[in-house]
């Protein structure tokens, strides 16, 4: 696969000196889904806005399929679709006209079957002649997606597309994203929902304070940085962790009925056998044993708070 989006040393400073992007470098491969995670104010939206031409970069370069977003803006922008974070829509326009407008704005000839297909996939076909102001919040977000897809982009930016929408739409969205990926569309998604990144992304990028902290294959990231916890449920609660178990650095549940052991899945020795032997030697009786893999959210929180596991 080749890079369809190349961002090199991208910087953005606003009037007043606030530096929203501090030299971002990012290569996004054609056909992948990249989830960009970051806390509020990390620079996610600024990054997207700069690539799409809404914000002007202070320095650095962005190329979309080899086309510079400044020198060759027509070719670059023609390839990009954007679903903004805010629900920005002309309230008095009909749904279908709004989507047709988006296609026309990108210089694409009329294609009614395509518009119908997009609207049907997003469950908007029945609402095509409704004014946008009559739609619910979730429906309006679907319209934004339909508008972004109307000119058949090869790169789609979804800026927190499922923020504040119900579970049904979120699942629909994920299906649409998967379908677009199958068609070869590259998708860059910013989200606060880690489960979303976990469910649909190929790679995960973490951005904080205007800097990309890491970009990694999602599975690799989870394997490398993921910690696993072994929970030893006791048949009788304890008031404190026996001294003989201190080397295992256990945590105790608040009711004293379980001991939690954190270990590294990639380590040569996990220490589980020794732990279980020591638990038995301490005279504790096991009722059950369970394990839990740390989620992307745990990794994300760890990274952003500077712990880096």
């Amino acid at each position: 696969m080749s890079a369809i989006l190349s961002i090199t040393d991208l910087r953005k400073s606003y009037e007043g000196g606030f530096e929203a992007l501090k030299g971002v470098n990012l290569e996004i491969e054609a056909g992948e889904i990249l989830a960009l995670l970051g806390p509020n104010g990390a620079g996610k939206t600024t990054l997207i806005s700069t690539v799409c031409g809404i914000t002007t970069a202070t320095s650095g370069s962005v190329k979309v399929d080899g086309h510079c977003i400044l020198d060759d803006f027509r070719a670059a922008r023609s390839l990009i679709g954007l679903v903004p974070q805010e629900i920005n829509l002309e309230p008095f326009e009909k749904v279908i006209n709004s989507v047709r407008f988006s296609r026309g704005l990108f210089g694409k000839a009329k294609n009614e079957p395509l518009i119908e297909d997009i609207l049907r996939k997003l469950s908007l076909w029945d609402k095509r002649n409704s004014q946008i102001k009559e739609l619910s919040g979730g429906m309006k977000r679907r319209v934004l997606i339909a508008k972004a897809l109307a000119h058949e982009p090869r790169v789609l930016f979804l800026d927190e597309p499922t923020a504040g929408v119900d579970v049904e739409l979120r699942k629909d969205m994920w299906d649409v994203v998967q379908e677009l990926k199958e068609q070869g569309v590259t998708i860059i998604l910013t989200t606060h929902y880690i489960e979303e990144a976990e469910a649909i992304a190929d790679r995960v990028g973490v951005i904080a304070a205007g800097e990309i902290l890491l970009v990694k294959d999602k599975d690799e990231l989870m394997t490398q940085l993921g910690k696993k916890q072994l929970c030893v449920h006791l048949s009788a609660p304890v008031s404190e962790i026996p001294a003989s178990l201190a080397p295992h650095a256990l945590e105790m549940s608040s009711d004293g009925a379980a001991l939690i052991y954190t270990y590294d899945t990639k380590a040569e020795r996990t220490g589980i056998t020794a732990l279980l032997n020591d638990v038995a030697a301490a005279g504790l009786v096991l009722a059950d044993v369970s394990t839990r893999q740390s989620s992307l959210e745990d990794i994300f929180v760890g990274l952003v708070s500077g712990e880096k596991s």
Partner: protein
């Protein structure tokens, strides 16, 4: 040139106009009728002919210009301010269109609406006064150029405005006085000599004079000068808009 984009913007803007067609039509008809009742019948009957023209007919070009200028400005300024206000401007900024294409779409639609209203007023006027148009083609040309140039000015105001109050400020405080003092309802030869000179600094004088010439064949200033003035004003507005898009002033952060 992205003609499809220009056409899309134009159609989208015209759709707004058609949604409120009745108000768009009714308002100029009503205000023109009121002007004729007040200035034409009540006051005009006491005024002699101006430059050999009945006063009722004399004010027709000025009335049309008054509405066309204010409509061009308000249509174009609202047209571009509204996407800024509701946030849909993101779509324009991220689309493969340049400043000229955006301007052609918005200004073209605003000018079309104003042109329509200009013709509605002209048609309404014929119900009240006898009118013959000496130079019909020149009349259409002047009307068209005025619509375009003032729509360009409106576009600039729409980008400059940070709120709805500012959107009204320039038309209310600058344009309306200039139009009223620009000879809409009188010939500048009726003014004292000193004011005749001062009024020549008002650019609207040249537009109204040229437009009136197309109706009656008489003008306050030479027709060539009127055309030059409107051309210079258009060029100035275009230059300002080009600069706005080059620097991203008040549209790109």
């Amino acid at each position: 040139m992205n003609w499809t984009a220009i056409w899309s913007i134009y159609r989208f803007e015209m759709a707004r106009f058609f949604r409120t067609l009745f108000q768009s039509f009714l308002s100029p008809v009503l205000s023109t009728s009121l002007y004729f009742v007040v200035f034409g019948a009540a006051i005009g009957s006491r005024i002699d002919q101006v430059d050999g023209i009945d006063y009722g007919a004399f004010i027709v070009p000025g009335l049309i210009m008054l509405s066309v200028m204010t409509q061009s400005i308000s249509n174009a300024s609202f047209g571009i301010y509204f996407p800024k206000f509701i946030g849909t401007i993101y779509e324009l900024l991220s689309a493969p269109v340049n400043f000229l294409e955006i301007v052609l779409g918005y200004v073209g639609a605003a000018a079309t609406k104003a042109l329509f209203i200009g013709f509605v007023i002209l048609a309404t006027a014929t119900l009240f006064v006898d009118l013959t148009i000496a130079h019909p083609l020149a009349m259409v040309l002047f009307l068209l150029l005025t619509c375009l140039s003032f729509a360009l000015m409106g576009f600039i105001i729409g980008i400059w405005a940070k709120n709805f109050e500012q959107l009204q400020l320039v038309p209310l405080l600058i344009v309306t006085p200039l139009v009223f003092l620009g000879g809409s309802f009188y010939s500048i030869s009726m003014l004292p000599p000193i004011w005749q000179k001062i009024t020549l600094f008002n650019p609207v004088v040249y537009l109204i004079s040229g437009f009136r010439w197309s109706f009656f064949g008489t003008s306050d200033v030479p027709v060539g000068l009127s055309l030059l003035a409107i051309g210079a004003f258009t060029a100035l507005c275009l230059a300002v808009i080009w600069w706005i898009f080059k620097t991203g002033w008040r549209i790109r952060s």
